[in-house]
């Protein structure tokens, strides 16, 4: 009898996320959703659709474009935004480099310089609430962050001084220049995301599924050969069947060996995996124990 009034885990997570979307739309004048074409932002967009159905999603989407892209993902981004009739804004790192607004670090990576470009775009459009697809299971600093994450006028996170967050009551008050990062997927795990993709039959960029690619090995990870990621002479290339677990900066994101070419196979693979998503695929977070915390303090997502 009571069983009947019980949500499954996906229903409960969906309901929580929908509530968060509506709360932000009701309380903020100018929200924006960060949309990269990656799987978490695709799920986020679906949840936003559900929150406002049958009306349109009442805010634009923003992509912080590092210039280091997988073409399949960019194409997907544009198509999805067009299908949903969304205003797509692009904050471009290459453009910021050309303008001299940011300088490329010696190693050529663009993870850190994304932050000022993001902050500039938020400032330019006066966005006070920004939806991000970060999940708490991704990283130990993220595991500490509130659903409504207060940021000061420099976009900085102060982990030692977070606002208490009780029940489903979110404090959305900010002074001019300050903002809130909102994480509707906070309580989702990688496996929840894939179960949801399967349930909703969400289309994803093809690189999330197994395919053949020319790769080389670096720091124990497999990187695709492309214009941003050139093997050194000591790094032989070879063809492997791989897929991507995350899609970030194409110069930093590694592929994993996989035969999973359907959503069901990926769900099974993710359920059995013994390595975290970021551990398996991100060259950027391994460098220091607190890499993510440091970047968040600087205004990163």
């Amino acid at each position: 009898m009571t069983r009947r009034y019980q949500l499954t885990q996906l229903e409960a997570l969906e309901s929580e996320a929908v509530h968060i979307f509506r709360e932000v739309a009701a309380e903020f004048e100018r929200p924006v959703l960060l949309f990269s074409g990656g799987k978490d932002s695709i799920v986020m967009l679906r949840l936003a659709q559900k929150a406002f159905h049958p009306a349109r999603i009442p805010f634009p989407v923003l992509h912080v474009d590092t210039g280091h892209n997988f073409p399949e993902v960019l194409a997907f981004r544009d198509r999805r935004a067009a299908e949903l009739d969304l205003q797509l804004l692009v904050a471009s790192v290459p453009d910021a480099l050309n303008r001299g607004f940011v300088q490329a670090p010696p190693d050529g990576t663009r993870n850190r310089i994304q932050t000022p470009v993001l902050l500039e775009a938020l400032d330019k459009h006066q966005f006070t609430a920004v939806f991000g697809g970060a999940r708490r299971d991704e990283d130990k600093a993220r595991a500490k962050e509130r659903i409504f994450s207060f940021r000061d006028e420099f976009g900085q996170w102060d982990p030692k001084n977070q606002r208490p967050e009780l029940w489903n009551l979110y404090n959305s008050r900010v002074h001019l220049g300050e903002s809130i990062r909102v994480f509707p997927l906070s309580n989702w795990t990688e496996l929840d995301i894939w179960h949801y993709i399967a349930q909703e039959r969400l289309e994803l960029p093809s690189i999330y599924y197994a395919h053949e690619r020319t790769v080389f090995e670096r720091n124990g990870m497999l990187f695709a050969v492309n214009e941003f990621c050139v093997p050194r002479p000591s790094e032989p290339t070879f063809t492997a069947t791989v897929r991507y677990r995350t899609v970030g900066d194409a110069s930093l994101t590694a592929a994993v060996r996989s035969d999973a070419d359907t959503v069901e196979k990926v769900v099974a693979e993710v359920a059995g995996t013994r390595i975290t998503e970021r551990g398996a695929t991100r060259g950027d977070d391994k460098f220091s124990e607190a890499a993510m915390e440091d970047r968040k303090r600087e205004g990163y997502f």
Partner: protein
């Protein structure tokens, strides 16, 4: 598969983070790269063994100081359930973070160090867990390995806690002797304590019945957002979106809208996936009524013969979370369900000593981490229930209008 939300509680160093680490580790929910990173960090710190607390103490300052500062959320699943774990800090100065973790918990794990027995913080956290009405408490007498797995030590602490608990409003209490460090009674029953006949911690977590903890009786639907599509296809569409805070709603039900008091009938209950026959507590849905009445965010849909209190005079327990104290006469923004209003503190009735539960009737202020009973006067009526009856229509937060900080968490005793 459903979700169980649990929060840790207890004094510093009683082993909360280690227990969660152990639970994650023994349920094989820790990934190899996380283990490697914790092994590396333990070695660097000169620990003799792998410090499982590092699985949740993720901030730089936490690792440096070996303490938990803010809540860490961790996730694991067994074939029976998905678990959302909030590992909370034990230090008194971080009580507000503990309260954050406990506010949504179905179950609180209260840890006690078997060598030390009940400390002031153990009592405080046990009290806070009941004040926040966490429906299930599990007292874990930890570090049993350090007291020779002694039944006497366990029974003494159990008796001491039971005596304290008699003064509290505890729904459901279970007591288990464990060693978080060595894993005794965490996932499987320990062979070191044959005298203990109860279930392992995980067994209890997997089986505790939580479905009936939500209020499925009093229909409460705080209107969160009004959906009015600007399109030809849905020209006259008007839907009231929100998350059900209590009860079960069905199409055809006669309902009343507060504060106006207008009545109407539910025409349909919708989600993006189509109409549903009924909506129950914690579902996010959109309700359409048969009549065109003026309804906006902050209003509440309920039943004609079962309505919440509509009142500007609120009697509530408050947990104070700011450095600047609460004093009578102050004004704050108050956020309750989907309604934001302003509130003035009319009166501080008493401050509670969480150790003795003594009421200090002469108290003039509530300092950081104090708990007291206040009377508030709000500028708009709140549509509320007693917190004990419904966490979501009985809980509110106070926000300082100058700093925008969340300064207090309130639980309605009574509205008149």
């Amino acid at each position: 598969m459903d979700i169980l939300r649990l929060a840790t509680a207890g004094s510093v160093d009683d082993g909360k983070s280690t227990l969660i680490g152990r639970l994650l580790y023994d349920t094989k929910s820790v990934f190899t790269d996380q283990i490697e990173s914790v092994e590396r960090a333990s070695r660097d710190r000169g620990d003799d063994y792998v410090n499982l607390a590092l699985l949740t103490d993720g901030l730089r300052a936490e690792r440096e100081q070996g303490i938990t500062i803010d809540v860490a959320y961790r996730y694991f699943a067994t074939p029976r359930r998905k678990f959302i774990v909030a590992d909370t800090p034990g230090h008194i100065q971080y009580t507000r973070n503990m309260v954050t973790g406990a506010s949504t918990a179905d179950l609180a794990l209260i840890l006690v160090d078997a060598r030390k027995g009940l400390l002031e913080q153990s009592r405080r956290h046990a009290f806070l867990s009941t004040l926040l009405h966490v429906p299930h408490l599990m007292l874990c007498v930890n570090k049993m390995d350090l007291v020779g797995y002694s039944e006497d030590v366990f029974e003494t602490i159990r008796a001491e806690f039971t005596e304290f608990a008699a003064k509290l409003d505890i729904g459901d209490l279970t007591v288990v002797p464990v060693s978080a460090l060595l894993g005794d009674n965490i996932v499987t029953r320990s062979t070191a304590m044959p005298w203990y006949e109860g279930p392992s911690l995980l067994h209890h977590l997997e089986n505790v019945h939580v479905a009936s903890d939500r209020n499925l009786i009093d229909v409460r639907f705080p209107v969160q957002y009004v959906i009015r599509p600007q399109s030809d296809q849905y020209r006259d569409y008007r839907g009231y979106a929100g998350q059900v805070a209590g009860g079960v709603l069905r199409a055809g039900d006669e309902v009343m809208v507060l504060p106006s008091g207008f009545t109407s009938t539910i025409r349909s209950i919708e989600t993006a996936d189509g109409e549903v026959e009924e909506a129950f507590a914690s579902m996010s849905v959109t309700i359409r009524l048969t009549d065109e009445i003026d309804i906006s965010r902050g209003d509440m849909i309920c039943r004609v013969n079962n309505a919440p209190s509509v009142s500007q005079d609120i009697d509530a327990m408050v947990c104070w979370m700011d450095d600047a104290p609460l004093r009578p006469g102050q004004k704050f923004a108050i956020k309750h369900t989907t309604r934001t209003s302003r509130a003035m503190v009319k009166d501080l009735q008493y401050r509670l000593d969480v150790n003795s539960l003594h009421r200090d009737l002469g108290a003039e202020y509530l300092g950081l981490n104090d708990i007291g009973r206040v009377r508030l006067r709000t500028t708009q009526p709140l549509l509320c229930d007693e917190y004990k009856r419904n966490r979501y229509t009985g809980g509110f937060v106070l926000i300082d209008e100058a700093t925008n900080r969340t300064v207090g968490a309130g639980m309605v005793n009574e509205a008149r």
